[in-house]
Subunit: 235 residues, 2 copies
Amino acid sequence: MTSADPAAAKPAPKDPWELPDVSGLTVGVLGGTGDQGRGLAYRLARAGQRVIIGSRSTERAETAAAELGHGVEGAENEECARRSDIVIVAVPWDGHAKTLEALRDVLVGKLVVDCVNPLGFDKKGAYALKPEEGSAAEQAAALLPESRVTAAFHHLSAVLLQDPEVEEIETDVMCLGEVRADVEQVQALAQRIPGMRGVFAGRLRNAHQVESLVANLISVNRRYKAHAGVRLTDI
Amino acid sequence: MTSADPAAAKPAPKDPWELPDVSGLTVGVLGGTGDQGRGLAYRLARAGQRVIIGSRSTERAETAAAELGHGVEGAENEECARRSDIVIVAVPWDGHAKTLEALRDVLVGKLVVDCVNPLGFDKKGAYALKPEEGSAAEQAAALLPESRVTAAFHHLSAVLLQDPEVEEIETDVMCLGEVRADVEQVQALAQRIPGMRGVFAGRLRNAHQVESLVANLISVNRRYKAHAGVRLTDI
């Protein structure tokens, strides 16, 4: 290294574990009546976050919200998105593009967290589907050019998330995105849930493998009768 | 469940942690002079496994073997493959197809463990390459129809593997393949290395995301100044 090294002029790197306070933000969960969405909504609300679950049907959203307790509210997807600062996309892959297209305007400027895993299933189990855009997250980014799209929460067991007996879920949440400040909000949100760490794990162009790793976790679960998650070691 | 349920007639499921003894098998490491190959060879030999590293050049293989110690031998790739029971493929992705094609005959009947990660690099870091066959492992399976092709050892840090000061490497090795008995040998081999577990993680059609997850680990390493690995939780 010489004195002309451009790195020498840079400030000391920021502590990657120094994350913003997101406890005052409202989190919407689109597809919040599905297993993954319900589970995430439940965990976040139980941790003290204000949560609104969204559904195509206001009635279904309100029913699910009432079941979850912890102050969770229910609303039709558009209202859920409008009232939320952070919007988690937990809809089935089949409805992913259609749901997001319809919400493009109301999602302008919002922090969007895609947690959809495009998978197919046949007699041999689960396998990855490859969206034309590369991944569900990249599809979201293409459909929502004026939103702040990130990806996270792919590897959580809906069973553990929803089990009120489970106090902590020992797992890491791989958080991906293009803008560090956005991803750090998602990391901070993940860390609100006891046992979880929110870990930066790359740009959206590397979301496909994170999404489709769920196919492997399904194989693990079957073989080991488990609800497998992922921890990253050495960090 | 009714008495007609076919599962009722099945024997109790086998304990997934009951793995074969592979301590007497010879392991060849193709590309054993590269960082990943050297590291794996070193760890396995240090654990008491008989290891031969292979290279295109006998001389380079022998030099690297002498440096590694622990009884590691060096040989030209073909001899390495011929003398080994289990053959780990740790060559650069660029040379993957060519190397395997040339060894097709000598690899007939052998247990082949592909640990190659097809990645590209640009200014934004690492990204996944998608082999025509789906993954490096599936390319190996296509090129070696009479070998027993599996995939494993993708997420190990070559730095940690090669560091003699490191006694244990706390990580899981995701092991993939079509034939349970073959994959179990690979799992057992992984477990020879202190700190590692060999975990069944699906069929070869789900190898791509395991291979390309290394792009994410590279992002993690950069952000956290770490040598990140993967642990699976709840198993």
